[in-house]
Symmetry: C2
Subunit: 391 residues, 2 copies
């Protein structure tokens, strides 16, 4: 079969706020080939990502993503890999291409799995889909008392793992931050997994980040996520040298496999967090998972949007029994839930698994998509390059 159509759907909440909450909009991708349909999601700014698919060519290696996809053969996973290589080369000067391609690539895996009646994780070579321990992701409170209350609330909801992020951390003193870390541990209880995400707040300032390490270790945090800008490898590497029990985590900003490998090799992270919707899709994510195993690093998904994105991001490590922690969008905006008909729910052990169903195993809800759909129209010299398709 050949790829006949690639359609983009931009969804948004009626109001989008300044929260660091990635579920406020979504960019869905629908691909069609040989009578089959597949769906994927870009974890990316929708409008520039659509433009990167349809824009006029700038030159031989600054081509729109569409040039490397439309009309191409899709017979097996190797064809998806070939397209990945073509996008990387033909669009090397088009920065946004990686984010656009991520959603398309994911949709191609979904389509291929549906055509074959196989889950994506099986096509990736895994024998089974192992359950994962979901962690709830919340923001730190404005005060340690608020952080304590939020931790107790998570505990009451039976989560065995929680990630606290952003908020006031890094904006005041290390002593103030320490109170939040201790409060989070106290609220969660001694046996829960505590994760901390500082959202790049220290940019590349190793000394300021290092001041937070003793309190993180005292609170028995499992990881210290994104202390620095995604590209600040040397800063990561220096901080890794100064941490003992707490490991660094990062990788959500990786938009190619090399970036993730470098964060492991030069940045010294203990947890590599990959978003399928940014790194180029499921194939590149699986390459990172393989590399992580070889380097003794733990793979974790990064997901802050829908259950379509969640299923996609679980596929690359579904078969790795020992890589158990899983980011679970605990409190997404309604659009992220309503865009699919089914969802990944915790089992009786409180764990979630990548579905044992064809493709990604998630059914998109046309009504949910229509409810939040943004009508986009892009023209150059009066010619329409993109107009939101029918669903």
């Amino acid at each position: 079969m050949r790829i006949e159509a690639v359609d983009f759907f931009y969804l948004a909440m009626p109001e989008v706020t300044d929260e660091a909450d990635g579920s406020q909009d979504a960019l869905l991708v629908r691909v069609a080939a040989g009578g089959h349909t597949g769906w994927g999601e870009c974890e990316a700014a929708p409008l520039p990502s659509i433009a990167a698919f349809v824009c006029p060519k700038s030159h031989g290696v600054c081509r729109p993503v569409g040039d490397s996809v439309l009309g191409k053969p899709l017979r097996d996973p190797a064809d998806i890999g070939r397209m990945s290589a073509e996008v990387a080369y033909n669009s090397m000067d088009l920065l946004q291409a990686a984010h656009t391609w991520s959603g398309v690539e994911t949709a191609l895996w979904d389509l291929l799995g549906r055509a074959r009646g196989e889950p994506v994780w099986k096509m990736l070579g895994y024998a089974r889909s192992h359950p994962k321990t979901p962690y709830a992701s919340v923001l730190f409170g404005d005060t340690p008392a608020e952080t304590l209350a939020r931790a107790r609330d998570i505990r009451a909801k039976d989560f065995r793992a929680a990630k606290f992020g952003w908020g006031p951390i890094g904006r005041g003193t290390a002593a103030q931050d320490a109170e939040h870390f201790i409060a989070a541990r106290e609220g969660l209880g001694a046996d829960a997994i505590l994760l901390v995400d500082t959202g790049q707040i220290f940019i590349d300032d190793v000394a300021r980040a290092a001041e937070r390490v003793p309190a993180l270790e005292q609170a028995r945090a499992t990881w210290f996520e994104e202390p620095f800008a995604a590209s600040a490898l040397a800063a990561y590497g220096a901080l890794a040298q100064r941490s003992r029990s707490v490991k660094l985590a990062g990788g959500e900003g990786a938009h190619n496999v090399d970036m993730a490998k470098h964060l492991i090799d030069y940045g010294g992270v203990g947890y590599i967090q990959i978003d399928c919707g940014r790194i180029g899709g499921i194939g590149p994510s699986k390459q990172v998972a393989d590399y992580a195993i070889a380097k003794g690093v733990t793979f974790v998904n990064h997901t802050f949007t829908s259950h379509l994105a969640l299923s996609a991001s679980m596929q690359p490590y579904a078969g790795l029994e020992d890589h158990r922690i899983c980011e679970f969008p605990a409190l997404p905006k309604p659009l992220a839930l309503e865009l699919s008909q089914n969802h990944l729910r915790p089992d009786r052990n409180g764990e979630i698994s990548a579905p044992d169903a064809p493709g990604l195993g998630i059914e998109v809800s046309p009504a949910g998509v229509r409810k939040y759909l943004q009508e986009v129209d892009i023209q150059v010299n009066g010619r329409t390059l993109f107009s939101t398709p029918k669903i």
Copy 2:
């Protein structure tokens, strides 16, 4: 003064081909503040770059570039640096933002220089603008005989340095490539500077790239440019270990300062090639130049478009007397020449210099812009987010 307006102009040749020739289109940026105007250029896909400035916010750190620029104060270079930091943070999840910001940042320096009556290089702290040795950039011929003829032609045009790139290199055997390298040297003569650019063709295959090193050294090539994908730091580092007289060159793909630093520290390049229109503008480029000096690496501009981009890309190292090689767009498409009224011409020594004139010292030609202007219209839900402005 405050930034009142940021306007984008997308120019394109009537026909854009698959050549690796970046002068086939252009994205110009015009900024207005306090009665002054400045111009810059993004070396980037125009449509996604415009979209990254005007798109609706996705969440707190996936904001359009415009949010960090419009209405902000512009009093001195520190204000430009503050905006750079804001774009990096507020748009951390918007991949294309760096390319968009690059043109805006450049235009802000131009505006500030014009307002103060100072060249940009003086605002960067340089006492004078040292002349540079321009190299002509051409493609390898399809046969060694064609490469020889092109080299003789360049020699006849009095260039003392030339770069041969792309074409058949890396697509056949190392022995076939060697004939091209030897032909290029023969045609240029013994005293000319020979540079070789293989346009990422070996992706991350160190062994295949290393097979080309003996012939490059025999032909006395000064550098071996972009053997690998821009992000393949480990491959660069391994190849650097296997080269003696020929140094690696790279960096045009860097879209932030860290990437350039890592190419020096982990990739072992001897020449760091920076495009102001991609790395985030003139300020970040100057940071790379400072770092290159500290590390004993030579800074070189990357420019394949207009003389506005050429002047911008020369500013960050204008004051470095010993960093002499300069990429000069020897055979650009007409639009790249016609978009400005003046041009950087070689002096009687065959050298070129960043202008001793306010700002970037290049006057944009409204007639030239209008001749190649593409009318862009972007709407979301019937609301116009971008429409090509008047010039």
